[in-house]
Amino acid sequence: MNFDFSDDLKQLRDQARRFMTERCTPAVVRRSLDGQETYAADLWREIAEMGWIGAAIPEEFGGAGLGYEGLCVLAEEMGRAVAPVPFGSTAYLAAESILTAGSDAQRHEYLPKLADGSLIGCLALSEGSGNPEPSAIHARVVGGRLTGAKWPVADGGIADIAVVVAIDEHRQIGLFVADLAGVRRRDLQTLDPTRNHARLDFDATPVQRLASGGGWGSVQRVLDRAAILFAFEQVGGADACLQMAREYAQERFAFGRPIGSFQAIKHKLADMYVALELARSNAYYGAWALGADATDLALAAATARVSATEAFHLASKENIQTHGGVGFTWAVDCHLFYRRSKQLGLGIGSAPFWKNRLVDLLETRNVA
C-alpha cells in the first residue's frame, strides 16, 4: 500500500504553492473583494499557461494528462490561496462534464480551449434557493433552444460557455452546452465577492446536448466528481486558516503569555487540526477513487465532501475567534477564508444534501 501522492505530484504541489504564494497574494484577492476587478485575469492567464486547468484532461484533448491526483494537488493550493479565478468552474465542472458526458466531437471542440484558458466554463444548475434536485429544474430546452433563469451561477458573469442542467421536450433532465455570448446576465452580490456569481437569463438560446448527459444520474455524476476536487480546495483553505491561527496564537500575548499557552486556544486549535486531518484523509481516498474510477467513488466523494465542508467551516470561523477583535475587521484576511468557506460549502450542494446522499449510498452498499 502507498497512500500518499507520488514525489512528482509533491513537487507539483510545492511548485504550485510557491507560485500562488507569490502571485496570488491577499492584495490580489482583495482586488476582487473590493470590486476593482471581477476576477484575477492575469493570474488566470498564468495558471492556464502552466497547463494546470487541463491537468486532468487527457493529452489527446489538449490537457496535461497528469491524471486526477494532479488536479487534486492543484485544487488544494487554489483553496489555500483563496484564488479569485474560475478554476473550479472551468476545470472541475465544465471540463469534467464535457469529458465524462460529451461525445468525442464535443470533447475535441471544447476541452482544448478550456485547457489552454481561451474559454472559461461554468455549470449552470441552481434556479434560486434549495439544494440540487431534479424537481427544482425548470429551465427547458425545446428544439435545441434553452429558456429559463439560472442563479446563482459561479463565474457565470465571466464564463464563455456554460454547461446547463435543463429538461428537454420529454421532461428528461439533460446536460447542455451553451455559448454565453449574447445571453442576458447580471452579476450578483454574494457572501464571497472574490468569486464572480451571476444570474443567467436564457431566452431561446441555442444549445447542444452532451451526448451521454441524460437523466439526473449524469448530473449527480458531475457533482460527485467535483465534490472530491472541492474537498481538496476546502482542505487547502482549512489548512491555511489553521496556519494563520497557529502563528497568531504564538505571537499574540495576553496576561503576559502567548495566547497559544491557554488551553482554550490550544484545544480549539487541536480540534481544528483533527477535523482537518480527517478531511484530508477522506479527500486522499477520494483522489484515489477518482483516479481509479473506483466503484465506491460516489460514497468516497460524499464522505470527502462532508468532512471537508465541516473542517473548513470550523477552521475559518475559529480562526477569526482566535484572532479576537482584529479577526472580524475588513483589513485582516480572516474573513476571506470565512466567505470562501461558505462559497465552497454551498456551491455544489450543502452539507445536508451530501449527508443525505452519503446515507443513500451506504444503504445501497449494505444491501448489495
Partner: protein, 410 residues
C-alpha cells in the same frame, strides 16, 4: 410563580404604552432592524429627537435619582418599559453606552458641579458620550493598556491609541482609562478621566468590519490635554473605577438578534428538501427543537434575573450565559439557514435573497458577537471563576511592573 404585573407595574405599563403609541410607530412585518453600518447623520437627528421626547416624558433614566431627572424606579419598571418599547420602531444606537456606562460612572465619581453640568444634557440626549478602554495590545487582557498620561501642571497629557470605541465620531465626551505609572503592576498604574472628544490632538478613524459595519473606531491621542479636575477617582485607582463601568455593561441587555428560531421555521417551510418543505425533514426538526429550547431557556433565565432584580438582588455574572449562548447560536442558525438554501444562500441582492438576507447578514456579523464585549473564552472563564468558584488562571504577570511583562509581536 406569577406572570402578572403588580398594580403599580400595570399602571406604569399603561403609561409607557400610551406614551409610545402617541409618539412612535408600531413595529409591523418581519423585516429585521439591522444596524450594520452604525448611525448616520440622519439617524443621529432621529435619535436626538427621540431621546429628548423620552426624557421630557420621564421615560429616560427611570432608575436614576430624581435629582438627575430620573424616577428612582425599581429595575423592573425599566424592564417593562423595554418590553413595551420593543413593539415600536424607535431609533437606537447612540445613547446606550453613554447612559448605560459613562454617566453611571460619573455619578459614582464626579463632583456635584460636574454632575450638574453633564448628567441632564446627557439624559436629554443633547450630549453624546463614549467609552475609551480597549487598546490594540489589550484584547481580552483589558488592563494591559499602554496609552499613557503624564502630569503637566494642572493638566495631564495623553498619548497613545484606543480601539473598538463605539460612536467615538459622534460623541461630545468620553471616559478614558490610561496608564500613569508603567513601573507599577498592571492594575495599579492606571488612572481614570473624562474628556472632551473635541480636544485638540484626538484623531478618530472608523474601523471597517467584515460585515461592512463601521460603528467602531480607532482613537489616536497626540498630546491631548485633560485638566486634573476631570480625573475620576484617585491617581492609580483607574482599574477600580473601570470595574464600576464594566459592572454596568453586564446589566445592559442586547437587542434580540435575527434570525431567531421563528425565522428558521419560516425559512424551513419555504425551502424544499427532496421536493417537500424542509420543515418535514427530521434533521431540520431536531435543530429547530434544540435552538428553540436554548432560546426559551435564555428567555426564562432572563425572567429569573428580572425576578431577582425586582426583589432587590443584584444579578451576578450568570448573565454572561446570555451572550455566550446567543452569539454561537446566531452563527449556527445563520450557517444552517444558508445550508438549507443551497447555492442560493450565497446571494445577498435585495430582490433575490431569502428572508431579507438576514441569514447572510448574521453569518458576517456573528463572529464579532462572539468576541466583542467579552469573547466566548473569557465568558466561560468568568462563569467558571465567579459563579462556580474555580481558581483563576495562573497569572505570570501578577505583581510584575507593567513595563516588564512579556509582550508578543502582535
Amino acid at each position: 410563580m406569577d406572570f402578572n404585573d403588580t398594580k403599580e407595574e400595570a399602571a406604569f405599563r399603561a403609561d409607557a404604552r400610551a406614551f409610545l403609541t402617541a409618539n412612535a410607530e408600531r413595529r409591523a412585518g418581519a423585516r429585521p432592524v439591522l444596524r450594520q453600518s452604525g448611525v448616520d447623520a440622519e439617524a443621529v437627528k432621529r435619535c436626538k429627537a427621540w431621546q429628548a421626547k423620552k426624557a421630557e416624558a420621564g421615560f429616560a433614566g427611570l432608575t436614576w435619582p430624581k435629582a438627575f431627572g430620573g424616577r428612582e424606579a425599581s429595575p423592573i419598571l425599566q424592564v417593562i418599559y423595554n418590553q413595551e418599547e420593543d413593539a415600536f420602531v424607535v431609533p437606537r444606537g447612540l445613547y446606550e453606552i453613554g447612559l448605560g456606562m459613562c454617566i453611571p460612572t460619573m455619578m459614582a465619581y464626579a463632583n456635584p458641579e460636574q454632575l450638574d453640568r453633564y448628567v441632564k444634557p446627557a439624559l436629554r440626549g443633547e450630549e453624546v458620550w463614549c467609552q475609551l478602554f480597549s487598546e490594540p495590545a489589550g484584547g481580552s487582557d483589558l488592563a494591559a493598556l499602554r496609552t499613557k498620561a503624564e502630569r503637566d501642571g494642572d493638566d495631564w497629557v495623553i498619548n497613545g491609541q484606543k480601539i473598538w470605541t463605539s460612536g467615538a465620531h459622534l460623541s461630545d465626551f468620553g471616559i478614558i482609562v490610561v496608564r500613569t505609572d508603567p513601573n507599577k503592576p498592571k492594575h495599579e498604574g492606571l488612572t481614570f478621566f473624562f474628556l472632551d472628544m473635541k480636544s485638540p490632538g484626538i484623531d478618530i478613524r472608523p474601523i471597517h468590519q467584515m460585515s461592512g459595519a463601521r460603528h467602531f473606531n480607532e482613537v489616536f491621542f497626540t498630546d491631548v490635554r485633560v485638566p486634573d479636575t476631570q480625573r475620576l477617582g484617585a491617581v492609580g485607582q483607574g482599574w477600580k473605577v473601570s470595574l464600576t463601568t464594566l459592572m454596568n455593561e453586564r446589566l445592559a441587555v442586547g437587542d434580540v438578534q435575527r434570525p431567531e428560531v421563528d425565522d428558521l421555521v419560516e425559512l424551513a417551510r419555504k425551502v424544499r428538501i427532496d421536493g417537500k418543505p424542509a420543515i418535514q425533514n427530521g434533521a431540520v426538526r431536531e435543530k429547530i427543537a434544540e435552538w428553540h429550547a436554548r432560546s426559551q431557556g435564555l428567555k426564562f433565565t432572563r425572567f429569573r434575573t428580572i425576578t431577582a432584580l425586582s426583589k432587590g438582588e443584584t444579578p451576578g455574572p450568570e448573565n454572561s450565559i446570555h451572550k455566550l449562548v446567543n452569539a454561537s447560536k446566531l452563527q449556527d442558525i445563520a450557517s444552517y439557514g444558508l445550508d438549507l438554501m443551497g447555492a442560493g444562500g450565497l446571494v445577498v441582492d435585495d430582490d433575490l435573497a431569502e428572508a431579507y438576507a438576514m441569514f447572510q447578514s448574521a453569518l458576517l456579523s456573528s463572529p464579532s458577537s462572539r468576541i466583542a464585549g467579552g469573547s466566548d473564552e473569557i465568558l466561560r472563564n468568568i462563569i467558571a471563576e465567579r459563579v462556580l468558584g474555580m481558581p483563576s488562571d495562573i497569572r505570570v504577570d501578577k505583581g510584575k511592573p507593567f513595563n516588564q511583562v512579556p509582550t508578543g509581536k502582535r
